[in-house]
Symmetry: C2
Subunit: 422 residues, 2 copies
Amino acid sequence: MAAIGANPYARIDDLLSNVRNFKIIESTLREGEQFATSHFSTETKIKIATMLSDFGADYLELTNPCSSPQSRADLETICKLGLKAKILTHTRCTIGDAKIACDAGVDGVDVVIGTSQFLREHSLGGKDMAAITKQALEVIEYIKGRGVEVRFSTEDSFRSDLVDLLSIYKAVSLAGVNRVGIADTVGCASPRQVYDLVRTLRSVISPATDIEVHCHDDTGCAVANAFSALEAGATHIDTSVLGIGERNGITPLGAFMARMMPSSRDFVLSKYNLKAIKSIEDFIAEEVGINTPFNNPITGFCAFTHKAGIHAKAILNSPSTYEILNPEDFGMNRYVHFTSRLTGWNAIKSRATQLGLSLTDDQVKEVTAKIKMLADVRPLAVDDTDSILRSFHFEVQNNKAEQNGQSEQQNGENGENGHVEA
Amino acid sequence: MAAIGANPYARIDDLLSNVRNFKIIESTLREGEQFATSHFSTETKIKIATMLSDFGADYLELTNPCSSPQSRADLETICKLGLKAKILTHTRCTIGDAKIACDAGVDGVDVVIGTSQFLREHSLGGKDMAAITKQALEVIEYIKGRGVEVRFSTEDSFRSDLVDLLSIYKAVSLAGVNRVGIADTVGCASPRQVYDLVRTLRSVISPATDIEVHCHDDTGCAVANAFSALEAGATHIDTSVLGIGERNGITPLGAFMARMMPSSRDFVLSKYNLKAIKSIEDFIAEEVGINTPFNNPITGFCAFTHKAGIHAKAILNSPSTYEILNPEDFGMNRYVHFTSRLTGWNAIKSRATQLGLSLTDDQVKEVTAKIKMLADVRPLAVDDTDSILRSFHFEVQNNKAEQNGQSEQQNGENGENGHVEA
């Protein structure tokens, strides 16, 4: 918090921003089921739903019950669990799908229809916007009549005609839809495009209508686009664990939390159990047979590893110099990598102190040069560097002893490794 | 291109935007060397430099020659290779470092100094801005005097005082620095912050001074921030292969290319050899002992895999419905996953056609229901689905034959798998 409070360039949010007030629609059980290798059993779905609800996800979105008999049975089972999170399902915008969804006992139905010329031509057989709007209003009326929450989303929103989009959103907002959704289905949107569309939409629909954003990650902007949407007034963000979904997926839950922490630390900590992220990710990775990406925010193996000498020096003085996230908030640890050719004497001095070796700054600089020279030749393990340090310390003590006219070798903490070559 | 040209919501770039005119500073041999497990031999560095130059990277940035004797020797070696890419090194802002860099034969020196209060207190021992500016001007004058290109960057720019930042950038621009750098050293910046800072900076410095942006990925915005910087008028983007660097790294080269393609297809194709990305990434991943993230844009194993029935149907009709990137541009392939409970009859029909099986639409729908039912029970491999299709087709042909009063079984393409249970 100090790090952010002290940032003179921090953005002052305007009144429409929901950066400090948003809800998560966790779609691992819908979008995530569309991931190449997903095949969740009923038991697994229950486990995932429970973990995500315990984490604090506001909504869980499940696969359309019309997809297969088991999808329908699983949706009914999860609706009956009595989880804290609200249960949604994601269906085509038809009365048939909506009826089966409501019958399953969901808290809300997320209906979606393609509005881009691409989808209208190739997926919907050439429907025009008037027909799409009429169909949407009928389905919304039906779902509301069943006493169930309803969201209306366009698909491929960023390649849809802006006038078409705003017209249909205005119509469904007037019809009392709870939430409208914008979907970057193909992952083409950039942050400023998202900001502009959400901000424009906010001015067109009723203030009572929430705005949900669903961002695919084909061009690496899914987290940034979600953040920009909140800045513009969106209220709900779609995520999945590790981002799994169609192609390379959507906004990952963990990375999204990493993005929100520097801006909204108190809000995030009040709602979400960040320390559960690692185990939820591990479970999903195991289930779908993937590895957590090495560069995953928070849980990637190197997310909190510091290597360069200049970085290590400052990190040792004060972690916030090179960290915007505190690993402890996520139950993770910081690691300062002191054993490479890029190391510096501050990192080595810190390690010597950890080992209980007493060396002057000049001595530390001397042994650091030695370590860097060896690291030039081959990678050094922590053990290697520790041995070099202990050996150097042993010699230093020996020389001192000799200079003092004493011939007996020093013993103590440096004795055991004193024989290792330096 | 059609996909973008037809997007009615495409942003119209203003005159300052460099989205269609940028340069890449490839820092795998500097930032990438700071990655937790990097330890590049001389031979490996030569290979990496050559691959990246052949790819089309405009600049290669190498580790400070003062880091270790081998770092210095390797820099000299790579400067002598005669690569198409210009060779830079990244040093502290001191005459000592600058002299050794120039002596090594580089085309340019990238100097960096911390300006945030955090770095000034914890890394620079409390230097004030006047002292930092004076030092910067001396170093810039020295490097220019050596006839070498010079960039001046602040470190941790987004947590520095805005007035301090603009003052020092203005001063170095007046002193004729070739390029100023903004560094999101801790990965805290959001796209709109980056846009605003670059845009403000553009109005303060000389139009002749280029702007470089270096984005860390701690909060998942490194690609989006680089893009936003270009929109605001930045000219140079720092990347590394797979994004490797301190902590979870910086803007990844491949993901950045994925981001730029939809906006700047012709420019990108004219400069960069996109088909080399996969092999460059594979080489680096092998060298530093990591896996390409499953969700990596372009090269992640599922980047071009489509699964949901509704998606597969449209993709089969026209790939651009659900793809903003053409896999062929990157030498990759599209894969439509037709063998899951989320499949649809269009995907199955396409597969039947691939297998040379003639079925009516009603028959395809019947066998699709069968496949979905089985996929509910256990994951189906491609072979499984193909067997079901062949078996179903065999039965259909048989029934037809029986109805025609013929008793002999049909042979042909469906014979070999006809016995497999359906």
